[in-house]
Symmetry: C2
Subunit: 294 residues, 2 copies
């Protein structure tokens, strides 16, 4: 038996179509939803990632552009640009691509974006609302995308045991909180496990829904999985590969062939969580634009 | 065999002594730490609770007073008072006693307090910093007090399995996040269980550290506890009692006599978490005053 595939590309395409319809409705009202990316420096992965997000946004009818700033940009200059975008009524969403060059303090930069334009969901106010259960905030795109995978994949979550492996601030911790909320598509008993968890398989084998967000290549195998469980692979890890022109390839946290033989449903990687993260960015941007005209 | 008592009164007294020493040091520098309580309406439990906190603060050398506003106070009038206290350099901490009269929106009121004076730790920015792991924020007093009980009680937490029963925004959710942090006094595998958890004993019996924060009187019994576990009782529940002049008495979530027979360590209730919540309020206020002169 082989697990059902939770096809992130197909779910994301559905969200993109909904986004395009919402953008059209806004445009008819005279509002063109606007999204600005800020990229500081020329990190190749960031270039590719921002470019892909910008393309997707344009396809959905969102006016988007990327502000490229040199690696040497000072903090005051970057904050000034953020302030200008905060004040610009044509800009509904602002995304500052991470990682920032190391001299720039993440906390100062990310908390400068107006919470109402923080479509990445990284502002402390939006994280705080997430923890408080206040739905007026923006959710970070990757955890929100995982909830959508479960919803669109028809996975029952209520009263199920979800085990999140990895306690990072962008995925593991917020996702654990979201899965425990008393709301549809959540309401799970949630265990947050991590690098200090002894005997990890004894924990992960309890999971009806298992999330790999640890950042260890191909770490989770069938030894970690209860038969029939739903497995979501968040990992994006580089491993060296001399047969690849780049010298490496990207793999997840889940050893797919091993786990697929025992799981009930599983995300591929790539093609699972990644496309959903972009799709939720578009949803957040449209909500920012819709909120702006209320 | 009977569990060791984690004496919250004695731990709190230790924190009060430290607070008094910090207040003295500040006063020598010409800074009198200042704390203002706002109480809206005449709820008897709120009156008693604010009065006790004010007394404790004064004992520690913190200048404190209570602003009492009528039940009928309008939102603009309350916000104006908060703004005045935000602007007053002699006021380092502001605590708005909950519950507010129902017409007043909690989210608007609590987020009006400057995060740097939010010694209750209820502002979304402080909740966000908690989730992000940014230690510059104020932690909510009850979860922070529970961490101190574990520390002062000499309970090893690293790699242990903590089960938090109850997903409330003030205790359960933030405590689960804090216990999972990669830092001393935490670093637990954490499970957040709640009213939708099926077969609760199968989850709670895995706990090395079990936290009852469900709000169900005497709900947790020895059937829920692994022998030798540490048990922390956060509950404050009213049950009717005709032998009591008030017609009720307060009990926790833990059936103490039953659980004491099997646990390794246990908080009494009252005399466990309650006094620690007040002690941590004083610590937060002193930090606010210390931060203000940096």
């Amino acid at each position: 038996m082989s697990a059902r595939i939770l096809d992130g590309e197909s779910f994301a395409a559905q969200i993109h179509r909904e986004a395009a319809a919402r953008a059209t409705a806004l445009t008819r009202k005279g509002i063109i939803p606007g999204l600005v990316f800020i990229r500081v420096g020329e990190d190749p992965a960031s270039r590719a990632y921002v470019s892909r997000k910008e393309t997707r946004a344009k396809e959905a009818g969102i006016s988007s552009r990327t502000l490229v700033m040199p690696e040497s940009t000072s903090l005051p200059v970057l904050l000034k640009e953020i302030d200008l975008l905060n004040a610009d009524p044509k800009v509904h969403g602002i995304l500052i691509q991470s990682p920032l060059p190391s001299p720039l303090p993440n906390d100062v930069v990310y908390s400068r974006v107006l919470p109402s334009k923080d479509v990445d969901g990284f502002h402390p106010v939006n994280f705080g609302k997430l923890l408080l259960g206040d739905e007026s905030g923006f959710l970070p795109c990757t955890p929100a995308g995982i909830l959508e995978i479960l919803r669109l994949g028809g996975i029952n979550t209520r009263g199920k045991h979800a085990v999140v492996v990895g306690r990072g601030q962008i995925v593991g911790r917020p996702l654990a909180v979201l899965l425990a909320r008393k709301s549809p598509g959540a309401d799970c008993t949630v265990t947050l496990a991590h690098s200090s968890t002894p005997d990890l398989p004894s924990i992960t084998k309890q999971a009806d829904i298992l999330i790999g967000a640890l950042g260890r290549p191909l770490f989770l195998t069938k030894e970690h999985v209860k038969p029939g469980a739903t497995v979501i692979d968040v990992g994006v890890n580089r491993i060296s590969d001399s047969t690849n022109p780049r010298g490496y390839r990207l793999v997840g946290d889940v050893d797919f062939p091993s786990v697929q033989s025992i799981a009930g449903a599983i995300t591929p990687n790539p093609g699972g969580v990644g496309p959903m993260t972009i799709a939720l960015l578009l949803s957040n941007t449209l909500r920012a634009a819709e909120d702006a005209i209320r």
